[in-house]
């Protein structure tokens, strides 16, 4: 069954870029795909085991969708299709090659964000695609999560997590280190683990192998 081939391709893709689908709402586009309800249910379940959460289904007949399946969506914004050259060579005309994944990710062009207000206690700033620059402080009890690096022109009193999409080269910079927790690519340090002499200093934080390094910057 072509869908199985497509799943193999998907696994290959996922193996190459860890966290590609992590925390992303995925829309399944079924246009041009001839699939029955049971097969669809099976596909959604198989995707779920791969941690791909289907939030909506596009291009499906109304009769195909049941209450236990994700709801129908229309007018999703197409991004670049997942490239699956191998399947394109297969002979079936309406194959899984047409099963495009719409990822709600903005293009690379606007992959960094600048926030010109302080991040307040209780607020959570997520930016999975790229760098985050904050002109202001990050308060105790708040968090900043970025796929790329985090730059804070102020005090870091809350949590900062950089490189969350598997980017081990991401760094955290801040003018004043008073963090509750810092993390890069899943490796973390809590406030107690931080060198006391670096508290209150302007620092940069990066990953060397599996060790988080913190050093003062002038």
């Amino acid at each position: 069954m072509p869908v199985d081939d497509w799943l193999v391709q998907l696994d290959n893709l996922a193996a190459r870029s860890a966290g590609f689908f992590l925390r992303k709402p995925i829309v399944l586009d079924l246009t041009n795909l001839d699939i029955g309800q049971d097969e669809l249910r099976d596909l959604v379940a198989k995707l779920a085991t791969r941690k791909v959460r289907i939030m909506g289904i596009e291009g499906a007949k109304a009769s195909l969708l049941a209450p236990d399946l994700p709801p129908a969506l229309t007018d999703g914004k197409g991004t670049s299709d997942v490239e699956i050259p191998a399947v394109e060579e297969s002979s079936a005309p309406a194959t899984a090659a047409n099963l495009a994944l719409t990822v709600s990710a903005p293009s690379r062009a606007n992959s960094s964000v600048v926030v010109s207000q302080p991040v307040r206690s209780g607020q959570s700033l997520h930016h999975a695609e790229g760098d985050v620059t904050i002109v202001g402080s990050v308060a105790s009890g708040s968090e900043v999560v970025a796929g790329g690096s985090i730059h804070i022109y102020g005090a870091l009193r809350g949590r900062a997590m950089a490189g969350t999409m598997g980017n081990s080269t991401a760094r955290i910079f801040c003018r004043k280190l008073e963090a509750e927790l810092i993390a890069i690519d899943g490796f973390y340090l809590t406030a107690e683990d931080l060198e006391p002499s670096l508290r209150g200093k302007a620092v940069q934080i990066w990953l060397e192998g599996e060790t988080i390094k913190v050093a003062a910057v002038i």
């Binding site: 206690s121 209780g122 402080s137 105790s140 009890g141 009193r157």
Partner: protein, 271 residues
């Protein structure tokens, strides 16, 4: 069209009600028409501090539910003619506050008064969010200690996201009122310094109210501190804060800093 102010803090017991009453009385003494509105349904206190607890007939919930007219619920202060109180209900549940009802009352008050000062309940639940929803200006009351400062930080975040102004893409004007400031304890390092609080919260300072027995004494006799003794230190600080609210550029003096040589020699021993 009057200005709507919300007096809020997140944390309880920092002086929201005291500040609402004191600022309301200070503004009204200059001739402005002022109404102070108690949003703390179920735990009302503003009527006590205003000395009107025995004059409450109808309240905010009655007005919202259409059981009384706004003019019936408003209580005119006996000392200052232009000062009014809209009390909260003590017996009703706070779920009786509806967004539509609150909007109607605030709009009506805005048309009749120069200042509408809403005393928010503590917390970040329904009562607090409804009190801040229609505000033009927010006064964030904070004590110089870490838990109060963090709660204030949280409230500022909500002011910037959950209010009508924020939803319309405007920015809410926010002022910090630092209350219960004890210069002796600040000097010893038992309290956060003014600069530290300002650095964390990064909003403009409206005033610093010194810790004083005068505040408690005034509350106990049912009088805003600005009416009870206009020359006491906290009253002067509230009067100055009210002038800054009116747009005057008045420098803030940190209590303790203005002490002369005498104070410097003898003040420390008293602490």
């Amino acid at each position: 069209m009057g200005k709507v102010i919300v007096v809020t803090s997140g944390k309880g017991g920092v002086g929201k009600t005291t500040s609402t009453a004191a600022l309301g009385a200070a503004l009204a003494q200059n001739g402005a028409k002022v109404v102070v509105v108690d949003f703390d349904v179920g735990l009302r206190n503003l009527d006590l501090v205003m000395g009107a607890e025995r004059r409450v007939v109808y309240d905010l919930v009655n007005v919202i539910q259409g059981e009384a007219k706004l003019t019936q619920a408003l209580i005119r202060d006996k000392r200052v003619e232009t000062l009014f109180l809209l009390p909260a209900s003590q017996t009703r549940d706070k779920d009786n506050l509806t967004p539509e009802g609150v909007e109607k009352v605030i709009t009506a008050l805005k048309n009749a008064f120069d200042w509408v000062i809403c005393d928010s309940p503590a917390g970040i639940e329904r009562g607090a969010t409804l009190a801040m929803r229609h505000a033009d200006v927010a006064i964030v009351v904070t004590n110089p200690e870490v838990s109060s400062v963090r709660d204030s930080d949280r409230i500022i975040g909500l002011l910037d996201s959950k209010t009508l102004k924020a939803e319309n893409g405007e920015t809410m004007e926010k002022h910090l009122l630092l209350t219960r400031y004890d210069s002796a304890r600040a000097e010893r390092g038992d309290m956060l310094k003014v600069d530290d609080v300002l650095e964390i919260l990064s909003i403009p300072l409206l005033g610093i109210i010194p810790e004083s027995m005068d505040v408690l004494r005034a509350s106990n006799v049912g009088s805003p501190v600005t009416l009870a003794d206009g020359r006491s230190a906290p009253a002067i600080a509230y009067f100055e804060a009210a002038r800054r609210l009116n747009g005057e550029a008045l420098p803030v003096v940190i209590p303790g800093d203005k002490r002369g040589l005498f104070g410097k020699i003898f003040g420390r021993r008293a602490a």
